[in-house]
């Protein structure tokens, strides 16, 4: 992951549900209550970079961490069940534009063997679908194929692609397009 990777930076800003384990003075403004200290047990949405830092740091003598974190809504049980049922029917972009990036970051923190399997299956099944659409897009008119929102039946599916999948679509589409251009060019020489 590059330092300049814009997707990694944006993933850092995704909100993660956290519960504070300790009383923290002077942090009350996070809970819209600047005068009081932040009580333990308060539930807050913190950006991933901060939540990760606070969850991994231990404070005090007992070695308790500041916050305990939970899986964010895009990786909630309902979404995972829907992915298990049919990976192609879920619009991942509606869950999070950086769904897989977020998922891999969370998997670094949580040990969820089942979630890994579900995600891998989702990615593979959707990748095959993406390749199909990319090839169709390349075969169609150039104007349609040049932007991501290819018209027709696959539009709904393509709108639901997250950033990883969009890159994948672009790669597959570039390959198919280069092939088509080359085939048209053979006759000219």
């Amino acid at each position: 992951m590059s330092y300049y990777d814009i997707d990694a930076i944006l993933t850092d800003a995704e909100k993660i549900p956290c519960t504070f384990e300790l009383d923290v003075p002077d942090l009350g403004y996070l809970d819209n209550n600047p005068t009081a200290p932040l009580k333990s047990g308060t539930q807050l949405q913190l950006p991933l970079w901060l939540a990760e830092m606070l969850a991994l740091q231990s404070a005090g003598d007992e070695g308790k961490s500041f916050v305990s974190i939970e899986l964010p809504p895009p990786l909630s049980d309902e979404v995972v069940q829907a992915l298990k049922a049919d990976p192609r029917a879920v619009a991942l972009r509606d869950q999070s534009a950086h769904f897989y990036n977020l998922a891999t970051r969370m998997l670094d923190l949580f040990e969820e063997k089942e979630l890994v399997e579900v995600l891998r299956k989702t990615f593979a099944v959707r990748a095959a679908e993406i390749a199909l659409h990319a090839r169709k897009g390349a075969a169609g008119s150039e104007e349609k194929a040049s932007n991501l929102g290819v018209g027709g039946a696959g539009e709904e599916f393509l709108r639901g692609l997250d950033e990883w999948e969009r890159k994948l679509f672009r790669k597959a589409h570039d390959g198919a397009k280069a092939g088509k251009e080359w085939m048209d060019g053979v006759k000219k020489h």
Binding site: V116, A124, A127, G175, G179
Partner: protein
């Protein structure tokens, strides 16, 4: 940032490499042998066939000084058989690449051997005569698609049947194999054995799907990275424990 060129060869580069393949021509005029980097070309004597690199054959074809003999695997019957094999007989795999030239040795009857006992002969893809008239039918060589396209574009009148018919069969074959590649990469990502056998995939097909396949493989790797790391740690711990046991067994 580094110059971001996609990895691997592009279509036109692959097609350029394909021009080094040998094809069989029937010359119409005499031509003395030409010393080239890869060796001398055979002298052309009109009724006799000769094997020339594709680029030279195309040059002579354009000057109407030779006719190109299409390779046997480009014959419609061979292509139809390939399509049948890819769809019905073995819908999982790509059809096999042409076998290595082999011959029986006189002192070991019944056993075929690779025919490169002779040190001067090299049998790697660009030098393997897989597109000459002597090539076996029913096998697709590495450069099949670009060879077929080039021959159809420049030597359509040398084909045994109208070029349109061959072109239609080629389109079918390309579609069948592209669908197979898509299905294969999907199932390869599903875990389990998790691999896709790509023996017999041609150079142009590789150039076309390289970016996509690499993207999928990279994605699956990233998703599994944390699970993989924890699995390695477990293995390492298990390994340490085993080592301790060994020491105890030895009674030190």
């Amino acid at each position: 940032m580094a110059l971001s060129l996609p990895p691997g060869l592009t279509h036109s580069e692959v097609a350029f490499l394909c021009e080094m393949e040998l094809v069989t021509v029937v010359p119409r005029q005499r031509l003395e042998s030409i010393p080239l980097l890869r060796g001398k070309t055979p002298a052309l004597r009109p009724p006799h066939r000769a094997d020339l690199p594709l680029w030279l054959a195309l040059l002579l074809k354009k000057q109407r000084r030779a006719n190109i003999v299409p390779p046997p695997w480009l014959h419609p019957a061979s292509l139809a058989e390939l399509i049948h094999r890819e769809t019905k007989v073995d819908p999982e795999k790509f059809s096999a690449p042409p076998p290595t030239p082999s011959r029986a040795r006189y002192n070991l009857p019944g056993l075929a051997h690779r025919a490169n006992d002779d040190e001067r002969q090299i049998f790697s893809p660009p030098f393997l005569p897989s597109c000459t008239a002597a090539a076996p039918a029913g096998y697709l060589p590495y450069h099949w698609l670009e060879m077929a396209e080039t021959l159809l574009a420049h030597a359509a009148d040398d084909m045994p049947v109208p070029a349109g018919e061959i072109r239609g069969l080629l389109r079918d074959l390309v579609e069948v194999r592209a669908a197979k590649m898509r299905a294969g990469i999907g199932s390869a990502g599903l875990g389990g054995d998790g691999f896709l056998e790509m023996t017999g995939v041609g150079a142009v097909e590789l150039a076309e799907s390289r970016g996509f396949v690499l993207g999928v493989v990279d994605g699956v790797r990233k998703i599994g990275a944390s699970a993989e790391a924890s699995r390695r740690e477990e293995e390492l711990e298990a390994g340490d424990r085993e080592d301790d046991d060994d020491d105890e067994d030895m009674g030190i």
